[in-house]
Symmetry: C2
Subunit: 190 residues, 2 copies
DNA sequence: TTATTTTCTTGCCATAGGACAAGTTGCCGG
DNA sequence: CCGGCAACTTGTCCTATGGCAAGAAAATAA
C-alpha cells in the first residue's frame, strides 16, 4: 500500500528505482484525528505530508477576522503550504484535518537531504510546482469568471467527497460567500 | 542594452555563457503601441516576450461580462499566459499594452527548440514557475486577508508606475471593486 | 487650436448579500 | 439514552456596494 501509493506520487523519468526506494523509506506513517491542526498561523512550516486517506482544509483569516477556506486536500495529494515551507517564513494559513486521516510524512530536514542528494528530485519538485501553478492560476481565474453557484455545482461534480465530508460553512467560505447565502443557493438548486 | 537585460533575466548556474548567447540571439525586438493586443481570449498563445519598457495588463471577463484585470506587467518581466502557452489550450484572458512598449520576443517553436537543446533551460523555466507560484499564492491570499483600500496603498508603494500609467478603472477591477467605489476610496485617502 | 472621445468623480437610488437571531436538526460524548 | 454543542436553515433587517447618469476633466485626434 505504502509502496504503491508513493511510487505513483514520485513517478518521474529522472528518479530511478533505487532512488525511489530511498525516498519511500523516508516516509513515516502518521495518523491525524478529525480536528487536528497540521499547521497553525504564525508557525514556520516543517510539515510535508501525503494524504493516504481523509480530508483536510487550509484556511486563513480575512480582514474582518473570518475563517476563509483557501483549499481542500483529499486522496493522495501532497499537503504543504509552499510559501512557508520553502521560503522559511511564518505562514498566514492554518491546515486542519476535517476527518480522521492517514498520512505519509517526511521530516523537512530529511526532505532537504534527499532533495540535494537525489539528482532527479529537484526536477520532480519543480514539475510539481508547475502543476500547482496551473492549478492556482485556473482557480483564481474561476473565482472571477464563474459564479459561486456554478462553482459549487462544479465542485459537486469534480470533488463530491468534499461536499460529503466537510461542514458546509467551510465550503461556503471556499466559494467566497457566507454560510447563509450558501444555504439559499443549495435550496434553490434542490 | 539587449544583452544586459536578457543576461539578467536568464541568469542561472546551469546556463553557461555560450548557451546564454544562443538564447539571447533568439530574441527579436518588437514594439507595441498603446492599446495593442498581445493575446486575445480564445486564442492558443504563441506569445513569449520580455518587457524592456512599458506597461501591460491581462484581463478576463467575469460572469456578468465585465472586464477584470488579472495582472499587470512592467519592467523586465516575462509576459506570458502560462496555461495557454504550455498546455496549448485556448486562453480565457486577454493581454493588452497600456502604454507603448518595447519588447524582446521569442517565437514559440524556437523557444521549444532551445528548451530541449539547452540543458539548464528547463531547470531555469521551472525555477521561474516556482517563483510565479509563490507570487500567485501570495496574491490570492492577499485578496482575502487585506482590504481593497489597503491593497491599493500597497500597490501604490510597491508599483507606483502602475498607478501612474494605468487608467484607474483597470486598477479598480484588479482590486476587486468598481471604479465608482475606487474613486471613493481614493477620495477618502487624500 | 478645436472637436471628440475616454476617463474620472459624484450624486441618487436599488438591491444583493451580510449580520444577527431564533429555531431545528443532527452528532458526539458521557 | 440523554444532554450539550455544533451545524444548518430561515426569517428580518440593514448596509455596503453596484448601477446608472450627468457633469468635469483629461487625453486623443483632427
Amino acid at each position: 500500500m505504502k509502496e504503491e501509493l508513493l511510487s505513483r506520487v514520485y513517478a518521474h523519468p529522472l528518479i530511478n528505482e533505487d532512488q525511489l526506494q530511498e525516498i519511500i523509506a523516508a516516509h513515516q506513517k502518521i495518523s491525524c484525528k478529525k480536528g487536528d491542526y497540521i499547521l497553525k498561523k504564525g508557525e514556520v512550516s516543517d510539515s510535508y505530508l501525503i494524504l493516504e486517506s481523509g480530508l483536510m482544509r487550509s484556511f486563513a483569516h480575512d480582514y474582518n477576522g473570518n475563517d476563509i477556506t483557501t483549499d481542500f486536500f483529499s486522496g493522495h495529494e501532497i499537503v504543504i503550504e509552499v510559501l512557508s515551507l520553502f521560503q522559511r517564513v511564518p505562514t498566514q494559513e492554518n491546515i486542519q484535518a476535517l476527518t480522521d486521516c492517514e498520512c505519509w510524512k517526511i521530516d523537512f530536514n530529511r526532505f532537504q537531504e534527499l532533495f540535494h542528494s537525489i539528482g532527479g528530485f529537484p526536477e520532480w519538485g519543480r514539475l510539481w510546482m508547475t502543476n500547482r501553478l496551473f492549478h492556482f492560476k485556473q482557480r483564481s481565474l474561476e473565482i472571477v469568471t464563474i459564479s459561486a453557484k456554478d462553482r459549487y455545482l462544479q465542485l459537486l461534480k469534480e470533488k463530491p467527497q468534499i461536499v460529503q465530508h466537510s461542514p458546509l460553512k467551510y465550503i461556503a467560505s471556499y466559494l467566497g460567500i457566507t454560510d447563509t447565502s450558501f444555504s439559499r443557493i443549495r435550496k434553490e438548486i434542490s
